[in-house]
């Protein structure tokens, strides 16, 4: 696996406002990196720097081994970029526009037809190929934007909010396309749709106030999301003292006399899952023995959203070190 993007100590100041603060990361072939963060966190600025639209105040970016500042043409040759507003010449037809993009991306004339055909097919644009871009719906315009970014089959693809303005079916198609492209390309996509990250990315990166506060693979993230909380509902009130005798329970949270949240001790490692099932078994046994009438026992999963909200709201990003 080769390193496609190597960003080191990137910072970007607008006057004295620091939009991106000393972030470093790598992207390799086969990775789809989801870039998450609240509005104004520096996502778009980072994307603009990676695509050569904005020079970093400090730090270096290498695209497929070429320094973006010193060998801009070679670096950009390896790059496909969809900005947050698709850069479309709306007075052209889809075919004319993509043909122009093919030329400025230096696709050899003989291969242009094939490249156009494949990009149109991948983005589902065949039916509208001869229509003016300005007459297309927002979803189709967005797809033309994506087609433009993948047209020249660049090793690095940068997509700034690629699914904005698409309907659910199109979103599914684009996610599928991203996963497919992710196999032999390196893709960075920014979004604030959290489920999108879970569905199409292999890695997640969360940025807050210009700082990188989390960088994990989806597997690691799933571990974070494993629950250590059980919600128990019974017919008659629970005597918490008796439940408390069970080892492995950290604390209780009473919602009502018959509804309790049980926090189990978690070590944030894989054995936790089996621990949890042991604890669950004992809880169930206790409740049944006591005759409280167990109605429901549900493990509560952390959603990515919980983690995200936790991270971006916490003044001190301690969760990043978990």
């Amino acid at each position: 696996m080769s390193v496609l993007i190597a960003a080191e100590n990137l910072s970007r100041y607008y006057d004295r406002h620091c939009a991106v603060d000393n972030i470093s990361f790598n992207l390799s072939t086969g990775e789809v990196l989801g870039f998450l963060g609240p509005n104004g966190a520096g996502k778009t600025t980072t994307m603009q720097m990676l695509s050569g639209n904005l020079a970093p105040s400090t730090g270096t970016i290498a695209i497929n081994g070429f320094d973006l500042l010193h060998q801009p043409l070679a670096a950009k040759h390896n790059l496909g970029y969809l900005p947050d507003t698709p850069p479309l010449y709306k007075e052209l037809t889809v075919n004319e526009f993509l043909g122009y993009c093919a030329k400025i991306h230096r696709i050899p004339p003989k291969q242009i037809d094939a490249a156009l055909k494949s990009a149109k097919h991948r983005c589902g644009l065949e039916a509208v190929a001869e229509r003016l871009i300005q007459n297309l719906s927002q979803g189709y315009q967005q797809r033309v934007g994506i087609a433009q970014a993948i047209l020249h089959n660049p090793p690095v693809i940068i997509l700034d909010e690629p699914t904005i303005g698409l309907d659910p079916l199109q979103i599914r198609e684009i996610r599928h396309l991203i996963r497919e492209l992710g196999q032999d390309h390196g893709i960075i996509l920014s979004t604030h749709i959290l489920s999108e990250v879970q569905e199409s990315c292999s890695h997640v990166q969360i940025i807050r106030q210009g700082k990188l506060i989390l960088r994990k693979s989806i597997e690691e993230l799933n571990l974070l999301m494993h629950s250590s909380i059980l919600q128990i509902t019974t017919r008659s009130p629970i005597e918490l003292d008796r439940l408390n005798l069970i080892p492995g329970i950290a604390s209780f949270e009473s919602i009502s006399p018959t509804k309790v949240l049980v926090h189990c001790v978690s070590d944030a490692n894989i054995t936790q899952i089996s621990d949890l099932s042991v604890v669950t078994e004992q809880i169930v046994a206790t409740i049944v023995n006591a005759g409280w009438g167990l109605l429901e026992i549900v493990p509560i999963r952390h959603s990515l959203e919980d983690i995200f909200i936790d991270l971006i709201q916490e003044p001190d990003p301690s969760l990043a070190t978990v």
Binding site: N39, K76, L92, Y100, R106
Partner: protein, 263 residues
């Protein structure tokens, strides 16, 4: 190669909007009217010219004033063509396409420059067809004709370069057009004061675009005048490229504004 690709796209886009067509049409109407009035003037003067030694010919009475008027009309028209070249790409956020493609800033600027200059050239050619039509019934001083053509082309090329620079600098097309027109008019009238005073300032005289234009028009093609235009064009194009580079380095936070406006 890449320059031509960009120029071609830009040129085509100009003709996809009614702007290029209307400008060509309006200029052509005005020039036709002015041409006919010059022909009329020639007809009136003709009896007197016959009796003169070394009388001015068709070229002096028709072609030179015709292109002199064209220079003024182009000054009004060029800003309308150049105002949107960079400015509008920036507003429509299509500049990102060019900036993230393997194209240098030089190629972007030259491509766009050639497109607008191409359109003005079409207009100049259409205009020059009018004096050529006189060949049907007379002869033409081709030396003067081509000198005028050269002067007009250099002038249009300079106008375009100034307009391009202004389009790079300003954020709004109207401001770009206004400042282009202002700067061009200033260069045009720069020499007026010195023609009245007893001690004309040589600097003002040199800077005056009108002076160099008229020198060339007279049929006296000196390298000094040609170099004035070439130097002006090069300067404007270089500054445009620098401006693009500088924008890349210290963009004044449109990204931040934009980022917070998303959703």
């Amino acid at each position: 190669m890449m320059i031509l690709t960009i120029a071609q796209r830009e040129f085509k886009t100009l003709f996809l909007s009614p702007l290029a067509w209307s400008i060509l049409a309006v200029v052509q109407w005005l020039m036709a009217y002015l041409f006919l009035s010059q022909v009329e003037a020639f007809n009136v003067l003709q009896p007197r010219l016959v009796s003169m030694n070394d009388a001015p010919g068709i070229a002096d009475i028709i072609i030179t004033p015709l292109f002199g008027n064209a220079a003024i009309i182009f000054m009004l028209v060029t800003p309308l063509l150049t105002m949107r070249i960079i400015c509008e790409e920036r507003r429509n956020k299509t500049l990102a396409l060019l900036l993230s493609s393997p194209i240098s800033h030089l190629q972007i600027i030259l491509g766009k420059y050639l497109a607008v200059f191409g359109l003005l050239s079409v207009s100049i050619l259409l205009t020059s067809l009018m004096p050529l039509s006189l060949l049907l019934g007379g002869t033409l001083d081709f030396g003067k004709f081509f000198a005028n053509l050269l002067a007009m082309s250099l002038l249009a090329a300079t106008y375009t370069a100034v307009g391009l620079l202004m389009s790079c600098i300003t954020l709004q097309p109207t401001i770009a057009a206004l400042s282009t027109f202002g700067l061009l008019l200033l260069l045009w009238v720069l020499d007026w004061s010195s023609s009245i005073s007893d001690h004309p300032s040589p600097v003002m005289q040199y800077l005056s675009i009108l002076r160099h234009f008229q020198n060339l028009q007279s049929g006296l093609i000196s390298s000094e005048d040609v170099l004035y235009f070439v130097f002006g064009i090069t300067l404007c194009l270089l500054l445009s490229i620098l401006r693009l580079e500088q924008e890349l380095l210290q963009k004044i936070s449109p990204a931040v504004v934009h980022n917070s406006s998303v959703e």
